[in-house]
């Protein structure tokens, strides 16, 4: 799940600005439990709409943030994530012409990674109580060759009253989750999951609207052959 936790926050923040969104989360897991996370958000399909919204003071009664505020928010998140124990090499590449953002970091363990993300989110959101995740909550587990991802109930309010165009745009958008291992994959539980040709990676791909309506579509259990 990794960054499905980020997805509702990202989407919630962005949904007032755009509907067509592509999110890619890519995690590479090493034998010793450490790894690398890459989280990319691609809004280039909505850049005209985003630019027109950013030119406004408010939209549907809500204040439209300025670009500098969004930059600040992201820098603050990166700063706090970098401070977390077990997280290193946090890098954020931002392309404000195409509205494309790439976050990457290294971690020593999945537990550190999840705790780090939670802690960093709580630092940047206006009301930390909105991050309905306790220190004990975990959604990714990996032990004895079994990788499990479940989706927490984050109680993120959905945007009501979506226009037909917004729904269609969301359906054109996608959430892609890639998990890479150093051992070959034996099986996957999610029917939409695809195993790479080299058997070292699994991809789950779903449209953004389906994920918004039911994040559980990304749940997956992957069995790997750790003896090899």
């Amino acid at each position: 799940m990794r960054f499905i936790i980020l997805f509702p926050f990202v989407l919630g923040m962005l949904l007032s600005l755009t509907s067509c969104i592509e999110i890619l989360d890519d995690i590479s897991l090493n034998k010793d439990g450490s790894g690398t996370l890459k989280y990319n958000v691609n809004l280039s399909a909505s850049k005209v709409k985003i630019n027109s919204v950013l030119a406004l003071d408010s939209l549907e009664g809500k204040r439209v943030p300025e670009l500098v505020e969004i930059e600040d928010y992201l820098r603050k998140f990166v700063f706090h994530l970098d401070q977390e124990k077990g997280i290193s090499n946090v890098v954020l590449e931002s392309d404000y012409d195409n509205f494309m953002f790439k976050l990457s970091c290294d971690f020593v363990s999945l537990e550190r990674l999840q705790n780090g993300i939670k802690a960093a989110l709580k630092q940047v959101v206006k009301n930390p109580d909105d991050v309905k995740l306790s220190d004990q909550d975990m959604w990714i587990f990996f032990a004895e060759g079994r990788w499990t991802r479940s989706i927490p109930d984050l109680e993120i309010p959905k945007k009501n009253n979506l226009s037909l165009e917004e729904i269609e745009d969301l359906k054109k958008g996608s959430y892609i989750s890639i998990t890479r291992f150093e051992y070959p994959v034996k099986s996957v539980s999610n029917p939409k999951a695809v195993i790479a040709k080299n058997k070292l990676a699994v991809m789950v791909r779903e449209n953004a609207y389906a994920v918004l309506e039911n994040p559980n579509v990304l749940e997956n259990t992957i069995m790997i052959n750790s003896e090899k």
């Binding site: 399909a45 850049k47 706090h80 226009s163 037909l164």
Partner: protein, 636 residues
Amino acid sequence: MTKRCLSRTIFGALLSAPFLLHPFQSKGQSELLIPSEAVAVFSINNFQLLQKISLDELIQYEFMNEIHQEIFDGSTNGRTIKDSGIDFKQKLNVFFGQNERFELAGFTFGINDQKALFEVFDDFDKQTDESEFVQHYRSYFNHLLIKGQAGLLIRVDPNESWVRKHTDSIWFSRGHDRIPGETDWDEAEEEILGEDADWSEDMDNEMFAIDDELSALEDGDESLILLSEEDLLQENYNDLKDSVFLAFQERYFQEVMVHLFLENKNLSGADPELAALLTHGSEAVFFMDNSRNVVNSSNFSQFRTLFPTLHRDLKELYKGNKVLGDLYLKDDQIEAKITTTYGDALGRIYAKMNNTKFDGKVTRYIHDESPMYFNYNVNLQEAYDQAYQLIIPLLKEQKNTRIATNVLVVEVLNEFLNKEAIFDTYKGSMFASYSGVKTVQVTQLEYTYDEDFNYEEKEVLMDQEIPIFTLGFSTERNDIPEMVLRQLAKMTSKCKKVKDYWVFEEAILNSLPIYIINQNDLFILTNDERLIVNTKGFGKNRLGRKKRKAIKKSGFLYAKSDWNAVMEGIPETMLSDKNREVFKVLKTQGGVMELKSSSTTTRKTDFTLTYTYEGKYENSGKYVLDVVNSLFVILK
């Protein structure tokens, strides 16, 4: 009656009163209760046409149910606006006024049944200060005054800045050295970061860290005690401010009442133009006295304090500046005739500015099918010359260093600058048009994956719908914008010349190009690609002869909008379900709006705004009510 109820009652009365008035109404007393402090009045007159809509028909509309609920505080018991005690044979006059010290708002109306009236105004209490001729009732800050067969509902509030000024004065006179709650942010920043701090990313990081420390200090620290003292101070200040507010409110209400009832000064008696307007046979009239509205407003309070003589002179300049209008509801048209009047000084400026020859070349760049366009034709140089002759002498009389410095700068610039070049480049005239929506292609980035899920970015094209617009300015110096564009082209590769026009890539919303046509005494910005095919204009597809004539005949200003055609171009998929329903109502009940002006004299300019709608309606009144009701049903 609550404040919300007051607003709703005003709205309901405004909407329904025109339809209820008898053609042979008596000369009402309600006009005589408009305070002389009012600067804007909207008066509903008798509608001969709309008497065709009976009261019984009106109260059938769904939106009237809500008004009835509000008026009778929820328990209508079958009662309607007919039972409110209001005399619909008299005019309903809504007014607003503001000066340096206070603002007032309310409305006057006729009364035919006081007992029924007080079932509506049931939360108003009788006051003991009534005179023999005037009854006074009050509910919180709203006052109801009844004289004869007419009533006045009014609220008078002192201006926030005026109250603040006096509160601060009292506060400091009591020995305090600052206003609670006000922080000097520069001082605070210097304290945290040090005097010579230069801002950098490291500073951001330090600020984030300090922010976290401050959050951590919130629980049971000494600073909590200091916050409490500050809170107490703030509370004392707020209490003082409230007392000042209430004292001024009472004082100014009394002032308005003395003028109105003891000195018999009302606006229709004081202003002959309003008095004349109130005798018109139109369905409604509106009046605004700009000479008191502009310079007496609270926005000018500091100016008034710092430059009292200049403020007085500006008042003199705006003397006679009023807006007067009539509203007519015809068979298939709603028409507003508006006159703006000026004093001699302003009139001379406007007359010179607005009476300029129409440039027919403009119409070549407006497509005949454009659903919306406007033209504005002025001579800025004439306006500048007149204004310079008028205002500089006024400013020179002021014995103030700041003004004297500014006057010196203006006079020197006036000598050194080539005004001809400036005003030949930007004459002041402009036009604009909207020509629907088009599909364009914009680039986006996509990820492509190989069989092992390694990915790379690829640029692809996608369709995007955007509005087509054209904006143009008159100029006699095409060479100057050309010079600027040539330099711009050297500075950025996004700007380049293509044949006889310029293109600026990604100028619109960082994504789409804008085309610049700089020739034939016009400087045009457009994203309409038809105009770059032939930069001389649309040729035979340009605005038709009848439409061109209409623009030419109009004075300095002309605008036209076919709302049905405008809305045709808007894709419904862009709208939410609710907005789509509203959109459908407006689409089927839309019409054509046209704004024309007369030539400007030194005394006045006339404007005519007409709205011609399509569809079968008995009369304009029924049309307006149907639209309002449709929107009410969707939006509730």
